[in-house]
Amino acid sequence: MTRDEIKDLILEIIEDIDEDAEFDELDHDAPLRDQLDLDSMDFLDIVMELRKRYKLQIPEEEYPELATLTSCVNYLEPKLKDV
């Protein structure tokens, strides 16, 4: 997957979690949590969705890597390069 595809994937997963998510003014380098008003339960769903779709195991101590959209892409790029 390219960086853009990963970005779209994350946004698609978030949209799936929260039917009201608004991405128009999303700052890619600021925490997703605050901007989208999500909580840790919603974050678990991003992790679970990645596991379900790509058999990707993300250990709990690495959850902070998913804080912003850019950090998600950086973190997932090597893991999803063959997808």
Binding site: I17, E19, D37, D39, M41, L44, D45
Partner: protein, 458 residues
Amino acid sequence: MADYQLVIIGGGLSGLAAGIRAARFGLSTLILEQHSLPGGLNSYYHRQGHLLETGLHAMTNFAPVRDKRAPLNRLFRQLKLSRKRFVTREQFGSQIIFPQAALDFGNDPDVLIESVRKAFPGYEKAFIRLVREMEEFDPFSPTPWRSACAFLHERLDCPLLEKMLLLPLMVYGNAEERDMDLAQFAIMFRALFLEGFFRPEKTIREFLNLLLDQYRAFGGELRFRTPVDNITVKDGRAVGVRLKDGTHISADQVVSTVGLPATVRLAAWSADPARYVGQMSFMETISLLPEAAARRLSQDRTILFYAMDENWEYGRPDGLIDPSWGVVCFPENFHGIARPELCQLRVTNAASYERWHRVAHTDYSQAKEDCVEQSRQAVSKIVGNYGGDIVYQDSFTPLTIERYTAKDGGAVYGSPTKIRDGRTPFDNLYIAGTDQGFLGIVGSMLSGVTIVNQHILR
């Protein structure tokens, strides 16, 4: 390989919510329910062409769609249900009635603040500080038991106001007699006074069907009329469940929602189940009245919490029931609910399981009738007489509750001992639901969600 990755005992709200979470992320999941209907404590039954709901007076924790972090909306996201399409009907308004004073509250906390200002001049500031403190309070951080009664007395120093605030919070979710854990108090304070009451647009049946459909859409399986005889255990782990009919079903993990005493028994763990049996049970009577009569009695109020004695204590009565305090609910009094020709009046009074248990089989019907009459006479003093208006009436006792819900002692709020982290002596057996500590419909569902998130999906 085990037959299922997850077996859930109990198809009540916590079991269904747990099942949806697990099935959503691809775990092969089986829910076992002893009865022919889902819902557990919050189910329904039919009498003479009427659908009557058990448990549900109202759902607590009302939140508008835009408030994303509110428990109700978090729950819907976790279950992947559309909150926007879930039509909520908010209460008209409720009341706490003591002989010396009455307090109004609604889904706007200012209604209660204003009412305290009027009924308890001089205590308004202390009460507003309490409201702010409850808004900030974190009830989920693990802390030792702390007395809610002592806390409230420190903050308000007004015994009557303290009792009045405690009545609805205790009767809607306290498993202990006389006092309450502060964390539980804070959860209930928010759920009732800050968020408030609503109903689903239709009945609990449609709500349960929504959950069942979602569970099945994710591939989850559910068997009705399938009581569990025991949880099979090997080398400190649960390996499956044996059904009453002798069938064995193996499982990687087991979640039990049948309460602590019943789970102790099912897994034969070395503890005395009797220690964990809750003492608070209730008798409830549903009366159907002509619409005009219900309107006259309710005066546009939704739920009334009454006590006829200012020294009211929350506890098990000495007699079969205690009609001197209780809850009166008018389930049609929510904005946007169509009023049928016959409306309901539901009365809930504390009842003693032990006393009901000792009633001879042949005397049971008469005892029930006597209690219904005592309760009606008491409630008539609160809302006006309705003896002549009753078209149909049905009631259930702690024995009925025990039979249909697997809650020992008919204890609707379960054991006074709560297992917050859901862990048991067995690695892969977890407790969810009432005895995990979250109460009410939204609470019990969040309990199922939380236990699966913390232990099953990790």
